[in-house]
Each structure stands twice: as structure tokens, then as C-alpha cells.
């Protein structure tokens, strides 16, 4: 095999590797976004959503639209944490609010 052919094969392998990694990053982002979105909906249902969660989800969406899936995934994961804390807060406050009532 000539040097040129070897070079072409290597280039093709590299391109396909990149596109596989790109597709995988996109899938990972989509998965993280869906998870965060579902948790945010839980908080909304509990009437206790945080404004920061919605903003972070929007930012994740924007980054994904630019093809920055790594950054988008990190934002989606952050949104999930925020939503999860909001859900936890709502559950804790079901009884904790009693402590705030003056006696």
C-alpha cells in the first residue's frame, strides 16, 4: 500500500472517530437535558420551581444549538442539580414551614 493510501485511510478513520465522538456528546447532552427537564417539571408541579433552573436549561439549549455539546451537557447537569434541590426544598417545607409560625 502506498504512503498516500495509508494517509487517506488514517484520515478517514480520524474523521469517523471525531463524528462518532460528536454524536456521542450530543446524545449525552440530550440525555442530561431530558433528565434535568423532567426534574424541573417535578419542581413546577410542586409549585416550587427556581428561576435559575429555567435560565440554566435555556443556556444549555443555546450551547447545544451552537454545537457546544460538552458545555451544554455541563449546564444541563447543573440544571438538574438546581431542580433536584428545588424538589427537595418543596418536600422539606411540607412540614418545616410550621416552625416559622409565631407562637
Amino acid at each position: 500500500m502506498s504512503k498516500l493510501s495509508l494517509g487517506l485511510v488514517a484520515a478517514l478513520l480520524a474523521v469517523s472517530g471525531v463524528s462518532v465522538a460528536y454524536a456521542s456528546a450530543k446524545t449525552e447532552y440530550q440525555h442530561a437535558y431530558q433528565k434535568a427537564s423532567a426534574e424541573h417539571h417535578k419542581a413546577l408541579k410542586l409549585q416550587n420551581a427556581w428561576t435559575t433552573t429555567g435560565k440554566t436549561l435555556k443556556a444549555a439549549n443555546k450551547a447545544a444549538a451552537k454545537g457546544e455539546y460538552g458545555h451544554a451537557k455541563a449546564l444541563a447537569e447543573r440544571a438538574y442539580k438546581l431542580a433536584d434541590l428545588a424538589v427537595g426544598q418543596a418536600k422539606a417545607q411540607r412540614t418545616a414551614w410550621h416552625q416559622e409560625v409565631p407562637k
Binding site: 413546577l44 409549585q47 416550587n48 427556581w50 428561576t51 435559575t52 410550621h98 416559622e100 409565631p102
Partner: protein, 280 residues
């Protein structure tokens, strides 16, 4: 044996009541404890003076406010509200036909629980209900004409004491309890409740602003805020407060805001109407 079980049942009941604690106190007991809290916190302030919000508890702010009140910033809005209030609808009727006493001197009775509609009716909702009943489009709830009409109606009621009733109806009590829970529960990323600022930190500074005590806090609505440069309704304020603690706000006149207004205004029973008011 029967006695033994009856005794157990009574004991279980007592334990449940004790566990429920003050959160499930009667509205009248809540009112007493609520007003007592503020009277203790600010012993020099007369109960009726709490309707002046931060100006009741901070001497410097009060001095500034007295100067502002020489030419109250809401004067034109009240006059516009009066004009709007007396304007006839296309069908020849007016707001006066929708309200008791022609809509004059009635602010102290709002919000109320409508047992037939099974919901809390705020003054702003009543204004829009009147419009809809007469074939007119409802106004947006946060500012503008609805705030002007409410300002005029409050102005005609100044000095009358709030007299919010909780009818003997489980749904009315549930609305009151929902409002009470919303007031005390912590929310948003900053983990604040309404009570965090307006009870336990009331009178203190949040940056340059003095936190208004919750007692009488709605008595001056609608208010002209210098920050807004215009009049705003209670809905506008609730939404602003929620946003500040990074909690997603609800829609104006949503059930939760109406219930909150119901609870909070009930807590001001006996205090005079002071609306419209001026705030920083």
C-alpha cells in the same frame, strides 16, 4: 376494654392536635399571635401605624416619606382612577352597579371568599369581573388602569378598618391555610420565605431599603413605587418578591396569590385602609 380503647382514641387525637401545633391554629388565634409578634418587635409603634410599612419603623425613612407626601406621587393616578370608575360601559352601566355602596368605601372588605364560586375574590378580580359581566375586556392585573381604579376605590375607603371574614366553609378555610403555608414556607434558590424578610428581619435594611413589617403590608395597595415610576398592584409586588429569592413566580391572580392575599389581609384585620401608598 371499651374504656381502654376510648382512652387511646382520645390520647391519639390529643397527640395529633399537639403535633399540628400553631400551624393549624384557628384564624383568630393566628391573628392574635401575628399582631402580638409585631407589637413586641416594635413596642413603640402603634398597631394602626403599621399600615405605613417601613415608615412606621424607621425614623429616617419616615422623615423622607413625610416630605414626599406633601405632593403624593399617586395623586394623578387616583384622579384618573376616579374618572375611569365613573365612566359608563358601552351598555350604559358602570362599576358602581357591580359593587355594594356603589363601590365607595368598600376596600376594607376585600379580598373575600365567595362560597358560591369557591374562590377568593380580590378587589382587582372584582373590577375585572364587573367589566366582563358588562361586555368589556378585562384589564391586565399588574399595573395601569386596574391599579388606578383600585387606587381610587382604596382612597374612598381610607381609615376604614379591614374586616376580612373566613366563612364557616371548608374551602374558605383551605384557602386561608394555603395562603398561610405560602407565607411561611421557604422557597427559591435563596431559601427565603415571605416571613423571613417581612417578619423576622422586618425593620432591618436590605441594601438601602428598610424591610416592611408584614403586619399591614397590604393595607396601602395599590402602591406607587419610585422604582416602578408608577402604580402597581399586589400581584406585581408578589411577583417581584418571588423573583428576588429566585423562585419562579406565579401568574397574576393565580390561586396561590389570591390565597396569600386572603391570609395576609386577614392578618391586618382591625388596621385601617391606607391605600394608595408611596414606597421607594
Amino acid at each position: 376494654m371499651k374504656r381502654y380503647f376510648a382512652g387511646k382514641l382520645i390520647l391519639a387525637g390529643l397527640v395529633m392536635i399537639a403535633a399540628a401545633g400553631p400551624a393549624f391554629g384557628s384564624p383568630s388565634a393566628d391573628l392574635k399571635a401575628f399582631q402580638h409578634y409585631f407589637n413586641n418587635r416594635f413596642p413603640k409603634v402603634k398597631t394602626g401605624d403599621f399600615v405605613n410599612g417601613p415608615y412606621a419603623v424607621n425614623a429616617a425613612a419616615r422623615a423622607q416619606w413625610k416630605q414626599i407626601m406633601q405632593f403624593p406621587p399617586y395623586t394623578f393616578a387616583v384622579s384618573d382612577g376616579k374618572q375611569l370608575f365613573h365612566q359608563k360601559f358601552a351598555n350604559g352601566k358602570s362599576y358602581a352597579d357591580c359593587f355594594a355602596h356603589g363601590g365607595v368605601g368598600i376596600r376594607q372588605n376585600y379580598p373575600y371568599f365567595d362560597t358560591s364560586k369557591e374562590r377568593v375574590i380580590t378587589l382587582e378580580a372584582a373590577i375585572n369581573n364587573c367589566r366582563k359581566a358588562n361586555g368589556e375586556k378585562p384589564y391586565p392585573y399588574k399595573k395601569g388602569k386596574i391599579a388606578e381604579i383600585a387606587a381610587y376605590m382604596a382612597h374612598t375607603s381610607r381609615g376604614k378598618k379591614f374586616d376580612i371574614k373566613i366563612p364557616d366553609d371548608p374551602k374558605a378555610k383551605a384557602a386561608y391555610e394555603a395562603g398561610k403555608k405560602f407565607f411561611y414556607e421557604r422557597r427559591g434558590q435563596l431559601n427565603f420565605s415571605c416571613a423571613s424578610c417581612h417578619m423576622y428581619e422586618s425593620g432591618k435594611h436590605l441594601r438601602s431599603q428598610v424591610l416592611a413589617p408584614a403586619l399591614g403590608i397590604l393595607a396601602s395597595f395599590p402602591i406607587y413605587r419610585s422604582k416602578w415610576g408608577a402604580l402597581g398592584t399586589i400581584d406585581r409586588r408578589f411577583i417581584g418578591c418571588n423573583k428576588k429569592v429566585r423562585s419562579k413566580p406565579f401568574k397574576p391572580q393565580s390561586k396561590i396569590y389570591r390565597d396569600l392575599e386572603y391570609f395576609l389581609t386577614y392578618m391586618s384585620n382591625g388596621l385601617p385602609v391606607a391605600g394608595p401608598g408611596a414606597r421607594p
